[in-house]
């Protein structure tokens, strides 16, 4: 029960972060989305042994976390579900790639460093940087703005609507799960967790109730003119909105090719 409450609170905190009046939040979402996507592509394009070169790409998350007043600790905490997956990707490389690249001296011994270890660390860094850049995007841009940016890129309307509704549905399902588990726990104070005999009916109730809530929300949307397209207030584009993506994208290309 506490975990559900905590997750809802986390989602709420993230939404509060998106509503800040910081200049990075006010940038045009299309620029931020492009920077994020291109950054991920550039990071992913580095050679598997190019860990030293890849480290330079930390400049983007470092800049955004420092200048954007974002907490790295909170960022890592909020991405805790994805991080183990991206860190796990290269975990078997040291077993399969045993080619020695160099050795390091430690405590009077020479410790060989294999290609597998380097490629594992490179993959981990790539994953970490990609997750952090995605976090920077969602911490400074609301879901409506991200969807607006996707529409600017001519992503099909149906896909954008589905993304937006899934995001809304998460909060709604979380709130329903919280209510149901609270009601259960209050009448089963001595139980630790939910007894397996109640799982079926609780999950069934949860789905039915969240579907009811979702259809009420949908009705409310259609009654206010929703016809399958979210109209976000058109953003006025300033010089800063051009400069931000331009500088970053040029920098990414320079770092990739000349460093």
């Amino acid at each position: 029960m506490k975990q559900i409450e905590d997750n809802i609170r986390e989602l709420n905190k993230l939404q509060n972060l998106q509503q800040r009046s910081h200049w990075m939040n006010k940038l045009h979402p299309l620029g931020k989305l492009l920077v994020c996507v291109i950054y991920i592509f550039v990071v992913a394009s580095f050679d598997k042994y190019a860990m030293d070169k890849l480290l330079v790409m930390a400049v983007f998350p470092a800049f955004c976390f420092i200048v954007g007043d974002l907490s790295l600790k909170d960022g890592l905490y909020r991405m805790r579900l994805i991080l183990p997956l991206v860190l796990f990707v290269g975990v078997f490389n040291p077993i399969f790639d045993r080619k020695e690249l160099f050795s390091i001296a430690a405590f009077g011994n020479q410790i060989p460093v294999t290609g597998g270890v380097i490629s594992m660390l490179t993959l981990m860094l790539k994953g970490l940087f990609s997750v952090l850049s995605a976090y920077i995007l969602i911490a400074t841009t609301s879901i409506e703005e991200i969807c607006y940016a996707l529409r600017c890129l001519h992503v099909p309307k149906i896909i954008v609507i589905v993304i937006m509704l899934i995001y809304r549905y998460f909060g709604l399902m979380g709130a329903e799960a919280d209510r149901i588990t609270t009601a259960y726990m209050l009448r089963a104070p001595k139980q630790k967790g939910i007894h397996y005999s109640a799982w079926g009916s609780l999950v069934g109730q949860w789905l039915l109730r969240s579907m009811d809530r979702a259809s009420a929300v949908y009705e409310s949307m259609t009654l206010r003119g929703f016809n399958g397209d979210f109209r976000v207030k058109r953003k006025i584009v300033s010089a800063r909105d051009f400069l931000y993506p331009f500088i970053w994208i040029v920098l990414f290309i320079l770092l990739r090719h000349f460093y």
Binding site: Q18, V217, L223
Partner: protein, 248 residues
């Protein structure tokens, strides 16, 4: 604003509706309403009040009879037009507020109808002013209290400047101060208001006309003074006198 032949903004004639064949929820409802009226729909639980409201806004279309809003029949073809004229405030405000902030939610309706940004901005300002929520415009919906959520839900409808406002149990779960505030706000709105509620004191404070529903039919339709003071009539249809009258 369009009206019917006799100047009515809402016209219901011999309306029948059933969820399942043979079990009519509404059977032969007749009602007309004019601009600026305030009508309270009362009745015990499960007699079809909410169903009637859903029919009015076109959430259910498989009815029999005549149902016209602002001179247009409620059918699939006219839905978009009808919904520009009619606003529905849900019983559960959480269902009404689905965007991040109060401001975004209030702007949702006018933006969807393709109004220019300056007009959307004007309507948002005006709607928030009417419900005394200008200070909370950037507040996250999640952080609003129950009373504030209700007022924000009303603002989302006011920003569409509808000719008809329908409210389903608006006073539910409000503390006395918020309830009094809501009554004041509702009495300042000039549109045709249709309020369904079990809270007969609330109906007495906000509506001049009352319609009593039972078994899918209109049992009584008259002034609030006349119907809400009729103990015998109310009790015979599963209701009781408003608390303020029963204490006398």
């Amino acid at each position: 604003m369009h009206t019917g032949a006799k100047g009515e903004i809402l016209k219901i004639e011999d309306l029948h509706f059933s969820y399942e064949k043979g079990e009519e929820v509404l059977s032969g409802v007749n009602l007309t309403a004019h601009d600026g009226e305030s009508i309270g729909i009362i009745g015990a639980n499960g007699i079809g009040k909410s169903t009637l409201m859903k029919l009015l806004v076109g959430l259910k279309l498989d009815y029999q009879g005549v149902l016209e809003v602002a001179g247009h029949a409620v059918n699939k073809k006219n839905l978009s037009h009808i919904r520009e004229h009619i606003g529905y405030v849900f019983q559960d405000s959480d269902s009404q507020l689905f965007l991040s902030t109060v401001e975004e939610d209030v702007a949702f309706g006018p933006t969807n109808y393709g109004l220019p940004p300056e007009e959307v901005e004007r309507r948002v300002n005006e709607a928030l002013l009417k419900v005394h929520m200008t200070d909370l415009r950037t507040r996250h919906n999640y952080n609003l209290s129950g009373g504030e959520k209700k007022l924000a839900a009303i603002a989302t409808i006011l920003s569409m400047e509808p000719d008809i406002i329908i409210m389903d149990e608006p006073s539910i779960a409000l503390d006395p101060r918020n309830r009094r505030n809501l009554i004041k706000i509702l009495n300042e709105i000039n549109a045709l208001k249709i309020v369904t509620s079990h809270d007969l004191d609330f109906i007495m404070d906000t509506c001049k006309r009352v319609v009593l529903l039972d078994e899918g039919r209109i049992i009584a339709d008259g002034s609030a003074d006349e119907i809400l003071k009729d103990k015998e009539l109310l009790e015979s249809h599963g209701l009781e006198l408003p608390l303020s009258l029963s204490r006398r």
